[in-house]
């Protein structure tokens, strides 16, 4: 096992820069998840680590060695491909044996390891079938098995659950979790499913446009996004953004003029926002941090009209129109009884407020929030 270190890594395809200078430290035994929208360079990063692509620039280090020039078969890694990439003409057993055979492992060790791994994944009875005779979830486990059986320095997994239906996905996610607890092999995991990212990761790296936007613990990143991209990318329905002008009220408090409504900035952000007085500032608030407040405390309460009510079973999502004309979503308790056209007052949870520079998208309050959390 080994840690992986990427330094200023670049991968250029003809006219596309798929990976645009990323640096990322993947500690030994960690479970690092790469997330990001489609085309942001997640797969390419993984393939660079695997040695399936050659880096245009930068350095890849696995353990102590710089491996830029080593081919995939010379690196001690195992990869789970998005669509499994099982050999369709080989049995499950032979699929699992293949990698070991290629590494000149002794016959009895191969047999033993395959048997062990199959037991671990509960696929012993499937060993003599071909991939086409397996269900999606079983194939998935075989793909995992093929990687695990090798006991490599690093696991790379490229959206390994993306083809499964919701139920199976939840199951497999749990199994992956257990597996990592057991084996502790350094793992780099790509997904575009946030729930997966949040639940599996020790460390999450949010990518966009070939660059890493933010790295950190999942819950940390979720509640302290560095910029609007990260803020908007994580969470569903995604964070609401309201843009306004930052002003100082007669009472010396800061407030955001939303053009028809006013949002009062909690005091703790005053320091951080001071430099931006008079500028345009974007307020971010997650739907689940908005509460309906029909009787309402006057401060930070925004009147709005209910446009769409989407009961989703465990929660109900409301689409609302603020008095300012802006649209906003709120996720509320399923037993909340509102109907289309109702007028409601919204209360934003003050602990969950975020402020961004609308021009650059950078968070204006990241540092102060993180500091504050650290002191709490």
């Amino acid at each position: 096992m080994a840690h992986v270190e990427l330094t200023d890594l670049v991968k250029q395809f003809d006219d596309v820069t798929a990976v645009d200078g990323i640096s990322l430290n993947i500690p030994d035994e960690s479970f690092t998840v790469l997330v990001g929208p489609s085309g942001c360079g997640k797969t390419t990063t993984l393939r660079l680590i695997a040695g399936l692509e050659r880096a245009t620039d930068g350095e890849i280090r696995i353990g102590e060695n710089v491996v830029n020039d080593a081919r995939a078969y010379e690196r001690d890694i195992a990869m789970v491909f998005q669509n499994y990439a099982l050999y369709p003409h080989k049995t499950v057993r032979d699929n699992m044996r293949f990698g070991l055979e290629q590494h000149d492992t002794a016959e009895d060790i191969i047999t033993e390891r395959v048997q062990e791994t199959a037991e671990l994944l509960q696929i012993e009875e499937l060993l003599d079938r071909r991939p086409s005779e397996l269900s999606g979830g079983q194939q998935q486990r075989v793909a995992l098995g093929r990687a695990i059986v090798r006991d490599p320095a690093v696991f790379l997994m490229d959206e390994p659950l993306s083809n499964l239906d919701a139920k199976l996905r939840v199951q497999m996610r749990a199994e992956l979790n257990k597996l990592h607890e057991e084996l502790s092999t350094t793992t780099v995991y790509v997904t575009h499913d946030q729930v997966e990212a949040m639940t599996l990761a020790d460390q999450i790296a949010v990518m966009d446009n070939g660059q890493i936007q933010q790295v950190g613990e999942p819950t940390h990143v979720y509640s302290n996004p560095r910029n609007m991209f990260v803020a908007g990318f994580l969470g569903s329905p995604s964070m609401n953004f309201l843009e306004g002008t930052l002003e100082e009220s007669s009472a010396g408090k800061f407030e955001l003029d939303l053009g028809g409504a006013t949002h009062n900035v909690p005091d703790e952000f005053t320091d951080a926002l001071e430099p931006y007085l008079g500028d345009r500032v974007t307020l971010g608030i997650r739907p689940e941090n908005i509460a309906l407040n029909q009787d309402g405390v006057p401060a930070n309460v925004h009147p709005a009209a209910v446009e769409v009510v989407e009961p989703q079973g465990e929660k109900t999502v409301l689409e609302l129109e603020l008095d300012t004309g802006q649209s906003i979503k709120a996720a509320v308790d399923p037993d909340t009884t509102v109907e289309m056209g109702d007028a409601v007052n919204l209360r934003f949870d003050r602990d969950s407020l975020q402020y961004f520079d609308p021009a650059t998208g950078e968070s204006l309050t990241y540092d102060s929030k993180v500091e504050r959390q650290a002191t709490v």
Partner: protein, 312 residues
């Protein structure tokens, strides 16, 4: 809502399948089933050149075709020497040209399968020999191999490799070589196209998976490429062999089976018997044998290469 009443439109709709499939089936029956039946029928007949009548002779055509003629009686168990030598020629011709063009075609297809710029151009350049009329190709090669003014002797002499001219087409063994070269030239493009299509069916990710599994190039070919190529190999070989067994064009325009009988193959023998000797019965018998051999070859190829990688 309105339910339209249009009986004709409805009726035509109901007759869609009979109207679209019927004519073709009738047609195919007429042009394939009927001639095949007629072939079988003719193979039991003999045309008497004196009376010009077709006489029923039972299995005589087959007996004479396959078994020895000595003593005016068909001696069972001893093969007709012509049959043996022509079968040998056919086997040599088909065997060599198919295997050479297969290996060559596989090589070129593997090269073309690389991610090359201008691959379309190469493919165009490579495909052309196959779409020229075989007659023109055959004559072209006859011209290339012509002993005095042919380009091959000319070039070899100019390069100082030979001094006298080599009589390619008038020496039995060399004529067979020339024929095989022409055949390989004509049919390799076909192999290339089919195998290339097969290569493109190999899921790219399996190469990646194998590479991650630590497989060398050779191992990747056998464990990934080959299983996926098998169906294409099957098609390429089947069609190629059938083409060669039946290909008269090249042989007829290049050597007419000569010199002597050294390049006579089943196809040219059949043509000679049926048309030149005007002995349709024997020709038909040979046709029946050819059909049987073809089906046997196709069946055995399917045995060898038939399993697709996705089959259980």
């Amino acid at each position: 809502m309105s339910i339209e009443k249009s009986p004709l439109r409805r009726k035509l709709d109901k007759l869609f399948v009979p109207l679209t499939v019927g004519p073709t089936l009738l047609w195919i029956a007429a042009i394939i089933v009927y001639p095949t039946a007629k072939l079988l029928f003719s193979s039991f007949q003999f045309r008497n050149p004196v009376t010009n009548e077709m006489e029923f002779v039972g299995l005589r055509n087959f007996r004479r075709l396959i078994f020895a003629r000595e003593g005016g009686q068909a001696a069972l168990g001893v093969f007709n020497p012509s049959f043996v030598s022509i079968t040998t020629n056919t086997a040599i011709y088909v065997g060599f040209s198919v295997s050479i063009s297969f290996l060559l075609g596989l090589g070129i297809a593997l090269l073309l399968d690389k991610d090359l710029k201008g691959r379309g151009w190469f493919r165009t350049a490579v495909i052309v020999p196959w779409i020229l009329p075989y007659v023109m190709s055959g004559l072209m090669w006859r011209w290339m191999f012509q002993s005095d003014f042919g380009a091959i002797n000319g070039a070899l002499q100019r390069l100082g490799i030979i001094s006298g001219n080599i009589p390619f087409l008038s020496d039995g063994a060399l004529a067979m070589v020339a024929l095989i070269i022409a055949d390989v030239w004509v049919f390799t493009p076909f192999i290339i196209i089919i195998l290339l299509a097969g290569l493109q069916n190999v899921p790219e990710q399996l190469y990646d998976a194998a590479e991650v599994d630590g497989a060398s190039r050779w191992s990747r070919f056998w464990n990934v490429t080959y299983p996926f190529l098998k169906p294409s190999i099957l098609v390429a070989l089947t069609i190629r062999i059938i083409f060669d067994i039946r290909a008269l064009d090249l042989v007829w325009v290049m050597t007419q089976g000569g010199p002597g009988k050294s390049t006579e193959v089943w196809a040219s023998w059949l043509y000679r018997t049926a048309q030149v000797f005007n002995e349709p019965g024997s020709g038909a018998a040979l046709g029946v044998v050819l059909l049987a051999v073809t089906f046997a070859i196709v069946a055995s190829l399917y045995k060898i290469f038939g399993e697709s990688p996705y089959q259980a």
